[in-house]
Amino acid sequence: MNLAPVAVEAIGVEARGLEHLYAGRRGLAALSFALQAPGVVAITGSNGSGKSTLLRLLAGLLRPTAGLSLVTLAGREVPPAERRTVLGFASPELAFYEELSCLENLTFAAEARGLRDRMAPALAALERVGLGARARDRVAALSSGMTQRLRLAFALLLRPPLLLLDEPGSHLDEEGRLLVERVVDEEARTGLVVIATNESREWRLAAQRIELRGRGLGRTA
């Protein structure tokens, strides 16, 4: 399989006083950092400390209550509304259309992103996560581990320079966890991989670690 990256421009991620509240409840305490590709960065912290919230903020899926997050590609800022074009995102909350097959879900994503040849990258992504044989199975028929592999395939679909992975090893067997390690290693050679996890095996893949020291369990600060 050709693993040459689609984009070679350096991608950077920065948070400046980034903070988020959910209806007055603290989702993420104010945080600042700057990251630059290539490499792997782990986000760790107790339950409710804001790991998933941080990834959603970086992905542009949430608007920060205070502060700002920046994603830059080749020195130019990518606005939050356009960030989906430069990142791959996988998290436990990411669900697929159960009435469609794995392949149909990914070809839909590729088509919506404007790819003319949507079949080849979808098949390649499914092969890469070991779901090639189940490509035409409906998502409703997948186990939780296979659904997690499909999430990884979705994140890898367009070979984005920035990967945001929230608990990438959840529900995976030993072979699946090795797959995650292999994918992270390959993608981090040229891109930036940010992993939110409390699994020591996953955060040890990272050269840098950001530990969130929020109050946890969503308590109001």
């Binding site: 689609v6 994503a109 919506a112 992103r113 404007g114 979705f154 984005p160």
Partner: protein, 224 residues
């Protein structure tokens, strides 16, 4: 930038194709809508027979049947994404405007299919004065556009609220009254042989305003 930049037209088309494929696989809305339309028309036909000289009743009855048959599906266009937890996936592949426009086109297609079955059945069962097809189709088309635009917009706005069912009814009621009043008046006018230009202009202007507001609003939706 990598070559995966979002292409708005492609995204709209992709969302439309996905909606069609999902509906075809699940028959979530169409079967229920057709069941409602056919059973209602059959019941009314048994009860009151044909109404050859009641253009007022015919116009109101046709729009009531179309509205209630379609409303459940139109209102759930976004709720299905929220309840199926697929909204995150959608937002990661397309802009809110592209998502909403794709769903609007699907809702229009849904109404067209519903009308293709319901209107001929209605005309056969209920009778009525001769149809002036030009004005009839104009009012039907513009009324459907206004109905789809309104329900898509309201559905998108209320989809992530807790009381979305009640909120959808409360918000859409005053908005749909305008559409229904003009559509019923237009259909009645064509059956009576009167011009429908006023109703057509009103429906076209209303649809344009709602679509314009939608395009301005959609990109600000769903930013928690």
């Amino acid at each position: 930038m990598p070559p995966n930049g979002s292409n708005s037209a492609a995204a709209v088309w992709a969302v439309l194709r996905k909606e069609c494929r999902s509906e075809w696989r699940t028959r979530y809305g169409l079967n229920a809508a057709l069941l409602f339309a056919v059973s209602t028309l059959t019941s009314v036909s048994f009860a009151v027979g044909r109404l050859p000289d009641r253009s007022d009743l015919l116009a109101a009855l046709l729009w009531v049947v179309l509205l209630f048959a379609a409303l459940a599906s139109l209102a759930h266009a976004f709720v299905r994404e929220v309840e199926g937890h697929t909204l995150t996936l959608l937002r990661l592949v397309a802009s809110p405007t592209a998502i909403a426009l794709g769903k609007l086109l699907f809702n229009l297609l849904f109404l067209a299919v519903l009308e293709a079955v319901t209107v001929p059945l209605f005309l056969v069962l209920m009778g009525g004065p001769p149809v002036h097809w030009g004005p009839f189709l104009l009012i039907l088309g513009l009324g459907s556009l206004a109905l789809a635009a309104t329900t898509t917009l309201v559905g998108a706005v209320v989809s992530q609220t807790r009381g979305r069912g009640a909120l959808f009814a409360a918000v859409s009621l005053p908005l749909l009254m305008v559409v229904l009043a003009a559509s019923v008046s237009g259909l009645r006018a064509q059956w009576d042989g009167n011009p429908v230009a006023t109703e057509a202009r009103l429906l076209a202007a209303y649809a344009a305003v709602v679509l314009g507001a939608s395009v301005l609003l959609y990109d600000h939706l769903w930013e928690d």
